[in-house]
Amino acid sequence: MKLVGISACLPKNIAYPSAAYERFKQFDVDRIVGNTGVLQKREAEPGVTATDLCIKAADRLLDGLGWERDSVDALVLCTTLPDYITPASAHRAQHELGIKNGCLVFDITLACSGFTHGSLIFQGLIESGLIKRGILLCGEMTTDCFRPRISKCEYRHDLANSLLFGDAGTAIAFSNEGQQVKAKAFGADGAGLDTIIVPGGAARSFWTPALFERTEDEEGDPRRPIDLILKGPQVLTFTMKRVPPMVKALLEESGWTPDDIDAYVPHQANKFMIDFLVRRMKLPKEKVLLSIEEYGNTSSASIPLTMLTRGGEMLGKPTKWALMGFGVGLSWSGIFLETDEIKTFPILEV
């Protein structure tokens, strides 16, 4: 499998933490920002979905690469918030991008580990000979859905989520022209199902008016079943437990030393967590790419967006990448890639 190109589409509206000062104590807001490291991020206007952002990114990518729409054998969209309960959003993308009917089209419901899981799926599809070319779409748009936009955040429990998460759509092209995957790892622990969860709105808690009613949680904060719950301490201990052994296994499989790697790109969970992982694994700090300060945590889009915006000249020359996804599920996956040239295109804004 070869990673051929990456493109991205972002909402043009830039949101800043200071928009929360009106309703919350500046101390509380600044403390969260100090932890997450998100100085600004993008928030989509009402009506724009993750699928919209991904389709625009893919359109740019296909044009830029000069790939015939009929040459795409698989189209996979990764998001936690598709356009519809059914059908999968990838079907809308296939239609609007004009991709051939003879294409394998489906969605995957993943977040933090979505890009690395998705890359592993394409590695399997390509190495098995099932497909030659494929497009992975990774996008998230949760503003006003799982969490309020910063300027409208009213409740203390939504504040961290409101400040942390950003919206973005990315498209990544894979082909069978080469074998760039040097190591791969994956895992899951469903015991952590409720560590990061939106409990309402699907079959377990179906559509009733109760979905929109606020009831007090353990800390007396009024919450709805459709609000995102993220248990920070549990996410941190999960990351401590799973990510360092995963990276160790990837190093062993690839035969690379930590210094051989040109760029470490962790899922942009939050800056505190990434800093911790860097210290714990003694990674060379200057090689760890970060974009969270500018775009926030964009879920499955965070790794490709970071490669695209922080990869610099490494995108145009032979580069060894360590890509690490971890989060919702709980799930984790990693992939070591040795690329030659990754084609990238200026970011689109809508």
């Binding site: 969260i32 932890n35 961290a160 920070g232 301490p233 941190l236 401590m240 911790f276 714990r280």
Partner: protein, 73 residues
């Protein structure tokens, strides 16, 4: 890690002087005793080779509770 060392580190997490902390001090009186403090405390203990049940950290009411949870004698 000694009790005094732990208190010094805890004081940094709480953004106060170590002199302000005695075993009986109530953690809730500090503005900085929040979820960020919990994360910082987990990392601090981890870096000293101590692992704690993260779900129990928010239950700590006093400095002594945190010392006990960390398993420091």
């Amino acid at each position: 890690m000694t009790k005094a060392e732990f208190i010094k580190e805890l004081a940094e997490v709480l953004m106060v002087s170590a002199d302000e902390l005695t075993p009986d001090t109530e953690l809730s009186k500090f503005e900085a005793w929040d979820s960020t403090a919990v994360l910082n405390l987990i990392v601090l203990l981890d870096e000293h080779g101590l692992s704690v049940d993260e779900e129990k950290i928010p239950d700590c009411k006093t400095v002594q509770d945190a010392i006990t949870l960390a398993g420091i004698k």
